[in-house]
Amino acid sequence: MIASLGLSFLIFLFPLVAAGVWKIVSIQRTAAKAERDALPFIPAPQPGPASLGGLPPARRVFLMQHLKVAGYLYAMMAWTIAFILTLPLFTLGSGNSAKWFNHSAYFWYSFITGATHSTQFLSIMVLFSAIAVIMPMRFGPEARFYRTRPIPISFVFWTKVLSVLTAMIAGAATGIALAFAILVALEGPIWHNLPVIIPRILGPDDADVAQLYASLLVTSAPSIFLSIITTIALFFSAVLFLGTAPVLRVRSNAALPLLMVPAAFVPFAIDIISNHSNGGTPHFFRTLYIYLSLGPPPPLAYALIPIALAAICITCARLFTNHQEI
């Protein structure tokens, strides 16, 4: 089991690491060539795309840089989600599939369980993405460079926040769509083939399967996927809020990374809390539309709560950045 997980993790990491190594090597090669050639300073003009033509050149350059980074983040997010959701499809047979009465039910169960578990894993990515947004606005050469160029602070903030948030949400949506496409390609629309009652072939020893199946029948896949997206927005904006809050500014800027480290433990806290809630999603998480385990979905209206909280956190963070010192 551990060997299988290790192999899966390696398969997950391989394209990310390979892309990173390729990028670093190509940058180093270009730099070495440039150093060898000792070319004079003859910069090429930078015409932006026509759709950005209305923006002043400074903003266009800044926006283009961030759209490029957002592109990488989008690809990474889509790959991560697709991998998490489809992983069980490729590792079936190592578990207790023999106990399941119906092939489609087991596939669907595995797929949906992967989706509910993705929240913890994604929250780590979201936290680090949020930190990656905050740090260059508060610390170091990049923060100072852009803060001393003629671009409005609001433009810097919204470009960074919206490019990353949009890339993550769009990446998640793409990953979900991709995973569904793979599921349908491999197994067909299995969610249509689920018996609506628990079959009698399940005996007293199979109570756990019966309970899981009962939970599976009332689980809403669209709600889980909506929850992934609202949770990304909520976590991201909460970290953004914390990272820009004036309470951190009063002390030292060095305090920010130290305060961010505990935030990285949030996913583990979620895991612990959900494990101690008798299988269901705890009420607090349901209120925030965080859908952690099989069972009935939170009311759809609850989805507005994380969206509203995210909007409030981002608005506060925007106000805080006006007073930020670098």
Binding site: F41, P43, P57, A58, R60, P141, T148
Partner: protein, 313 residues
Amino acid sequence: MTSYAIQTSALVKTYGIGSKATRAVDGLNLNVPEGSIYGLLGRNSAGKTTTIRMAMGLAHPTSGDIKVFGLNPARDPERVTVLRQVGYVPEDKMLAALSPRKLLELNRNFYPETWSDDLARKVIKRLELPLDTAFIKLSLGNKTKSALACAIAQRSRLLILDEPTTGLDPIALDELLRLLVEDCTAPIGDKPRTIFLSSHQLAEIEQIADHIGIMDRGRILLEGPLDDIRSSFRRLTVTGAALPTTHPGILSIRQQAHATQYILQSAPEAFAQDLIANGATIVESNPMSLNEIFLELCRTSESTAADREEEFA
């Protein structure tokens, strides 16, 4: 009427809170005339960098006021208007973690109206800047050159240079001073250009600056045209009886073996004539170098601050 590139009034910047609060800038009144090369001198922790950071909008005043071209550099949209007209070299010379070529290419996009590729090439050549060395391999001197090339090629109305000579060898330093005078002072259209540089290296400032401000403990001790300052400071060695100990022009008095040494900060000729009229003999009358003026002002400021602290205790 004189217009000012940078002007501060009763500017205060405090870091920390409660008993740990430190006043980095303490009621600063600074006037940097447009068209001048203004050297802000001060010891370490005098408040120079904090003042510059406030001028660039990187730090916000605790109280008081700072204006750049009459605009608030901390609040958009005025801030953007200010930054469009300012070239900046920070104290640690780290503008962005890029090779000099990448940094120049990036920076030129922000100043399409004023940027000059020719001037960038001139600075690169004169300062012998290695264009394609990776940022992490750049020496401090080359980081300084890289930041300077960016700021100079912007052809801004105002250059703000925080310790711009850090890490430069004597040849590069000489080239830089020449570049600043030759290429950064000619007006653009009808707008004069100003260079505001901070340093505690007095010799280099003395070579190019026409205005001086001396800061200590967050306050300005002296400010004005360099020539006026030089002519108003004088060291007099005097012998005689009943020599005066108070006079508005006296900065400090030292008793030597058989004579009294006066350091005068204003109207030295009139003071000398008064002494002669009262029967004193002037043994020596010497002009003072900027270095001597700076040291004397800092020592006096230190003893005044110590006296004040003693009184307070």
